[in-house]
Assembly symmetry: C2
Homo-oligomer: 395 residues x 2
């Protein structure tokens, strides 16, 4: 067991109709001019943006707006938001959307809080942030956990680099979570979200050096719940209870709770996927499910007790006569689950076919992004990353 | 499932030696004069208070001190702290101890933040707090969860009333949690702590109206972990891993996490125990284990599905041919567990023998404290409370 820090100050307001409290809430933080930041047209069409504006108006809070955030949110949109924020003297950012919109809002906040500096320097790991504008969100996609996390992932579309920057000062002030707002999502987005949520806990689960029993219990309970609800939502997307379970799991899976007492987590699958996202613009959760089985088969012998526990406690596998067999059965059960909810388990199913050259390019970029190596279950170097990409490409 | 709010902003610093970071940490909150608040002599004798002072000195933070907080912390000590704080111009309170010390610190903070008002009015529910001085803790007893909770319980020794006041503004800024600091506790205190920790989750578990699966999974995992570790610590009090599990469980059990999506919880056992504590000054956790079996037998038929689930998922009971039998077997298993760790399961074992008149007095006081009734598993009125006290007295 390792010592740890845990800090998750975001106030959560969870339940039906909670988005109508936004004006009242934002006012308690002394906001004078809010930037409403959102994605595509669905938030506008559904009337959500209008309700948000009405709530702000009622509370006497001024606002401006910027839509058009895309999945794998882009640096150009971030820069646009920073310029708008400067012109309009924005002092609070409200993200209305999923992880991409919230991450874009976080990046804009970094930029507005230190307006003389180039915001990409944070993601290029050239400096640390010293200030941050308060942000909050109304969540419409359960997936990234960005509504309570300290993470932010941005894609520099000029270089094809997808890079993260994590800092506790970026933890949002509050998160409004109404499960009904996620009901209109296409199935592929819903299930990609479930895959992403599970992976945030799995990245913290497959580690070396001892864990806390309490953390394992929470992690396993969360994973079982998401597996159950992902299956329900595949057939019954308007199931409120399942939507609610998945939404809350999304926050708890990435606010730090499921990693307390471990060594900081593996996160190699995430880093491998970031390169796939950067090069092929795939949906993040689907990218994760497409790379995970190959990662798992490549590393499981190095982290056998955890893979055995995962197989029995999460996937409900009956132990085989050897730990290796039990672990492999757990990985297979996970693939079966991914397939059942329509998620890919290799590159072909994901719809990408990188050449050998592109695989090397992704691996080299991953090495640069990770400072040379990544992982806890097994520490991966360039050749390991190439091998895993190849496995996923040939599966 | 119900909508909910969740807010647990306390920064947790967990692990060996973390108490030495206190000066550095407190400085980041801009504290100029800290009141170090603690209980008996053990914190002084062990050298902990000296280490705290050394850390504050190194960071250039001034301090004053007030010891002598007793279990079931008293209003007189709170008033003493308020007077001292005013004289010394204290702007931050550091509690070094367990729930009693932290609660006393919270009450002093309420008093110092509104110095013209009588602090007891909060506990008598005559007004709401409008301000609060920042507090933090170095935890030395795993039990109350006050290090991250919004709760504060104070005993007015003049009237014999033990009353709580809960307010989110009282959530501590940070909690330093070094499991080693709890190793010297007497077994009875350790196990009372475990009983208290479990009860904070059980109060939220035995409810009506639908729960979240994710919350249930977390609650059950937490309870199983504490049961396992309470047994270990009964024989091996210096087991670091078990100390750590229990310590972290103490925080998660009362910061709100194990109640998300339920109706707000039952908390009748807590209210019944408060009267026992007010009249007989019993150890809180032991008082809870002494009243719970009688409460459970009185209410279980009204909340059968939850008692059945508790029996099978937490106590590992094999289902009987009727739900009632399964539920009762779960209650018996819980009594066996309490006895195994040296905790009382009735008033005799707790060492109290209230007269019929005293039982009525406690019940009437409980009715006043709860505004007439209390409970979710079953709503309890005066006669119900009397009946439960009598059952515990005759068991």
């Amino acid at each position: 067991m390792f010592g740890f820090g845990y800090y998750s100050p975001t106030k959560v307001i969870f339940g039906k109709g909670t988005e109508n409290q936004v004006g009242e809430l934002i006012k308690t933080y002394g906001a004078k001019k809010v930037l409403i930041h959102y994605g595509g047209k669905s938030a506008v069409k559904s009337g959500l943006i209008d309700r948000v504006k009405a709530s702000l108006k009622t509370s006497g809070v001024a606002y401006t707006e910027l839509g058009g955030v895309v999945p794998n949110p882009r640096l150009s949109k971030v820069r646009e938001g920073i310029e708008l924020g400067k012109r309009e003297d924005v002092d609070f950012i409200l993200a209305v959307g999923g992880g991409s919109v919230i991450d874009s809002a976080k990046a804009i906040s970094y930029g507005l809080a230190e307006p003389q500096k180039n915001v990409w320097e944070l993601f290029a790991k050239k400096r640390k942030a010293e200030n941050f504008l308060p942000i909050a969100s109304i969540l419409t996609i359960s997936a990234a956990g960005s509504e309570t996390s300290n993470s932010c992932v941005i894609t520099n579309e000029e270089t094809g680099e997808k890079r993260s920057y994590n800092d506790d000062i970026a933890r949002p002030k509050f998160a409004i979570m109404n499960p009904e707002l996620t009901m209109s999502l296409p199935d592929y987005q819903t299930e990609s979200g479930c895959a992403d949520i599970m992976m945030h806990t799995m990245e913290r689960y497959f580690t070396q050096g001892g864990n806390m029993e309490l953390t394992d219990e929470i992690a396993e309970g969360l994973l079982r719940t998401v597996i159950k609800c992902a299956k329900i939502l595949h057939h019954d997307p308007e199931n409120y209870e399942a939507r609610a379970e998945v939404m809350w799991a999304g926050s708890l899976s990435h606010n730090g709770l499921t990693g307390c007492g471990n060594d900081g987590g593996d996160f190699a699958s995430h880093m491998l996927e970031h390169e796939m996202g950067g090069m092929f613009d795939v949906t993040h959760g689907a990218g994760l499910s497409a790379i995970w089985p190959s990662w798992a088969r490549y590393v499981y012998k190095n982290c056998l007790p955890r893979f055995v526990r995962y197989a029995t406690q999460v996937m409900g596998v009956t132990p085989e006569d050897t730990d290796e067999k039990t672990a492999l059965k757990g990985i297979e059960a996970m693939e079966d689950f991914y397939r059942e909810i329509g998620m890919p388990v290799n590159f072909k199913e994901l719809g990408i076919a990188p050449t050998d050259e592109q695989i090397r390019e992704m691996a080299e970029s991953c090495v640069r992004a990770t400072g040379g190596h990544k992982g806890s279950a097994k520490v991966l170097y360039l050749e390991d990353m190439i091998a895993i990409y190849r496995m996923a490409n040939q599966a």
